[in-house]
Symmetry: C5
Subunit: 316 residues, 5 copies
């Protein structure tokens, strides 16, 4: 149930244990990761580290926004880990940084946690303190936003290419809407994270060492970059939609014009043929020898005149 | 008329009384709830607790925005309790926190008040002080916003599914407008509440104990979360509307194309049939033996040519 | 020309006088109201109270925004009084608060001034100081915004009801535009007033007594409420317009579909009748006994096939 | 080339000189105005007053935004003077305020400079100091924005009246676009000027006397008023455009309905006439005596039925 | 691989070297420029100047936003150099300002670097310090944004002229979209640069000399000007698009009207001709001598009546 990482004299030991009963917090750093969805599942941790009631609530409340909360004994950080499936899935992740311990709670073990554990074991993390390990996790989680951005970028490129073409407009509109959803999901995860990392990098938190501030500031920069790109993409997508709608409207216009011109030219002609198709006994024109030719000529004049008129009005 | 809750030595007594005459404020905490719509109905309370004239006004003014007002002897908080009926109904709620008393005024007893009274009696509230009880009420009221959010979420899902389908567009537009109204109502209730809880959680109010600040901060977080979600949903709804309009416009386009093509192909053909339906005596073609076949062939060539032309223009 | 109010030992005397010549400022409070549109009309007052040149300008400049300007001897407040006629008429009102005097200048005596004078005479204003009287005027002027809000609310309700109905679209668009104009006028009057009352209620102005600050804060609350409602109504109106346009577009779509279907079914049929209406001598079909029935059958098959096709495409 | 104004013992002397060679700065105030478009044209002034290299750049850079720059020896103010021709022409104006001198540089002598010189000569400016004269110029320049606002107001009124009428839509769209351009030009000139006058009126600049701060604040008020009006007009214009587009769309709708109804009623009737216009030999109906009357009756029933159907659907 | 510039006693020496091995930092200023795309390519520089790990990352991360980062020994500035090809290409540029050294890293040597080196050699830069040289580079890079602005301006003028003409709407929409992309690219490069130069010009950085602050402030002014213009152009472009769409919609409207009128006039006439084209044996009208004339008269009356009706409805 729990993943337990213990650091002692720069040595790292990783165990999977079922209960925290009898666990001693005498290592240099003790990191416990647990997948939990209810407060009950965190009862052992709550007791062992005497966490505040509201901390426990925040750890399992999937709706909780990214934020940082400073308590006397620890710092609570909540964040969203994003997975790109058919839609974007946001996994809730809570990190509690204590002096000699680190607790991570998520509703599903994200790959980032496992990667940091491996890094730790492989000695890739030099300074084995709770705040350094927390930075690694946060950095990995924020880095997981970039593939999503890349995919959105690809989507935009595809949509952009097809926007002015005469492809199926409905699909473009749906694709655009889908891209917007992804951007909204990304924005929802990053906007509050901005404040979070700004707080962590400002350096008045005793549990974050001075040396790590610049690292937290680096993550902050990444978050700001993502927010920037999200806003740029949103504008781009809006522009594409407008361009597409304008193209659709133009195409409709063009089609209408052809209809108008063809209909308008033939309607009077058809009327004339109808006229001389009437069966009245007394229609003197019908007997005249040249009237058929005269009617054909009249039709030519009419259609020619209309073509000339439409040309001059710029409808052709 | 009044609900009276008295706490003495951790014991809770709840009464319904008709008049405050002779009431002594010697309990540890005295909590009076009253349903009032006019200043006159609050005259007894005003006299007993010597409230400011403007406080009384704020208590019964249903238009009053959520706010906190700090007086020498008490803190006045006004808030909106939301009920989800066919539309969202906003009930005005005023809470006055004194050192040893708590006054709640509403235009209709909300379920939240009753729930907190029961909690108090059942001993679920440990620290029986006026600010702790007030927190409970505020927390419950803000929690009442979430079912509304959930319902909006459901609405959005329904609208989203039908937006790109060929269902009745008018109903979608109305449903979207209705969802927007709900979002506006929710926003109207939560935006000012943000400042309110920010003030309460900042901890320079002598009537709010240090310990309770984090709880008020928790409510503040919830309010910010709701505001965030409201903004996200607003964008989502706008996106859906745009997608829907784009789908409608595309569908119209498609229909127009079919009309154009069919009309445009048949109009010249019909003209030709009219031509040879004319009753002139001298139309040499009529007597030629192969002219019927020739005309049929001509028609095929014309329609074939047009189909080819439309295909090449991408109208089919 | 001038309305003169003098308060001495809590007694109030109101006079209409033509000139300020020989007026002594020995009352507890001297309140002078004057209707003026040019700087010249204020010359007597300027001399008597030695007002700054720019103050005089602000008093008669109808374009002046609501603001507060603090001078050594007095505070200048400018505000808009709104009247609801066929459009909203904004009357400019200037209030000068001195230690023992109060000057009000407007381009037209608003009802609010008269009402406050009556209140003063009737003893409804307890604390007869210049800042208390000024509060009364400001409160009344801001209260005069609410009937306009109410009327806008009524307009919105009417427009909302007719937006999705098939009533005359042009009238709805005009009504919506008119409502927007009213909202803009209201916003123009209230936005700057927000800063004004914020300044007055902050309590670092020596001419405003501590006791009155809460009253000014109450007016500030009202102004913020109006701004809030104006923004909400603006969004609502935008939503209604969009819904209406969407309804119009949908209705057009529906009409187009019927046209398409009927035209498209009859156009080929009419072509066939034309075909056999031609007068060629050699059309073998014409002599066959069952060809009439066969043609009728063909037409039924064609129209049936098209109906089936349209049904499947969802156009019916 | 230079306009030279010298103030000595309250006496004003104005000269036009060609070179600054030998000019002594011993007057109470020396004001030099020069029309310059290149840095070279300012070389004499640069040497005489030892101006900073960047100051010279700002004086002739027509793209420079309105701003104030404080140097040890002088204050540099850049501003836009607006002229209303067929479009709005923005002239760049730089003002350098020194202790005993004033330099004004523009790419074209604006009327405002000449007016202030005349006022100075006519003794209309009491306090003849460089900051007072500068205030006069700034005040005049900002006042020159108001006629443009007035003209925009007139434009809006005209557009508004024609927006819902059936006048030429293209002209309205162009007029609206033109008005927007003017508003943008005005905004571009006033937005940065806001900060400029805010800085000047805040009173921590040693070269601006305390007494003049209220005058600079007055100009600031004017700028804020213009910004306010520009924003209001922008919204108004947007509203007009939307109303106009809605009117156009409605009118199109109305036309479409008439077309639909007339077409749809006549298309089946025309088909029937075609049917009995066919020349088959064996069409029994043709010989029946009452079939003509029966067909006429059928046509009436069909058209009546369709009219009834359309009426019920609300299309008439 | 490296461009090496050494300043000693005001003398400038420029070399192209392949390795930094054995390089002594004993010159007055040592400026090294390197084109690098990976951290590995910067290893020699990192070792020589002991740069922070994150600095190296920022130097080669092309996604890095413009920012300034202050370290104990140096200041890191990242910026975008823009090139106008078929689209805007943003080259990443990093500048590291040390006390006696300057390092510039880019993914491609921009012309601006070469120009500053030439200026340096030609003695055009008086104060040969690292911060002065850095200013030169930054100034040049920001100046490179102006030609792009100019091109956008040209684009807008072209689009504007064709927007209300009946040219190909699709091309206009694409051109507008392209212009928006350029504006977005420019905004992405300048928005963060604003903060950057604001920080550099505020003067609390020990490595930036007091004298240079005003120069950095000048660059800041340029950046703000570009941001201003970008916003103005964005609005202009939006306005053009709206005008264009409105023109398209109006033109469609006009075409529709002609179609409606011509169709609607001929449809009943054609029906009448069909009526008397029927082959019933018993149609008494057919034998009447004047019925042909009567029918012609009836048609004239019908078409005249419709023309009159359309005229009165304003459709002509």
């Amino acid at each position: 149930m729990y993943e337990l990482v213990r650091v002692e004299n720069d040595k790292v030991k990783i165990d999977g244990i079922d209960s925290l009963g009898g666990l001693k917090l005498d290592s240099d750093v003790t990191w416990i990761h647990v997948n939990a969805r209810t407060e009950a599942e965190l009862s052992e941790i709550t007791d062992l580290f005497s966490l505040h009631k509201l901390t426990i609530e925040d750890c399992v409340d999937r709706r909780q926004r990214p934020k940082v909360e400073v308590f006397d004994e620890y710092i609570l950080i909540t964040l969203k880990q994003l997975e790109l499936k058919s839609t974007i899935v946001a996994n809730h992740l809570a990190i509690i940084i204590g002096k000699k311990y680190l607790i991570t709670v998520s509703n599903k073990m994200p790959g980032e946690i496992a990667m940091v554990m491996e890094d730790l074991k492989a000695g890739k993390i030099m300074r084995k303190q709770s705040d350094s390990i927390a930075y690694r996790i946060l950095d990995r989680v924020v880095d997981s936003y970039f593939p999503i951005l890349d995919q959105i970028e690809d989507d935009i490129e595809i949509v952009e290419k097809s926007a002015t073409k005469k492809t199926d407009g409905k699909k473009i509109a749906e694709k655009i809407f889908e891209t917007r959803r992804k951007l909204l999901a990304l924005r929802k995860a990053t906007w509050p994270a901005r404040d979070l990392f700004s707080t962590l990098s400002k350096g008045d938190l005793p549990l974050i060492s001075k040396k790590n501030q610049i690292y937290y500031r680096d993550v902050y920069d990444h978050v700001v970059l993502i927010i920037d790109l999200v806003e740029t993409y949103r504008e781009l997508v809006s522009g594409i939609l407008e361009t597409h709608l304008s193209a659709v409207s133009n195409s409709l216009n063009e089609v209408m014009k052809v209809l108008t011109v063809i209909s308008t030219i033939f309607i009077p002609l058809t009327f004339i043929t109808g006229l001389y198709g009437m069966n009245f006994e007394f229609m003197p024109e019908l007997q005249w020898e040249y009237s058929y030719g005269a009617v054909l000529l009249l039709m030519m004049i009419i259609s020619g005149g209309m073509l000339f008129f439409f040309k001059r009005r710029g409808w052709l």
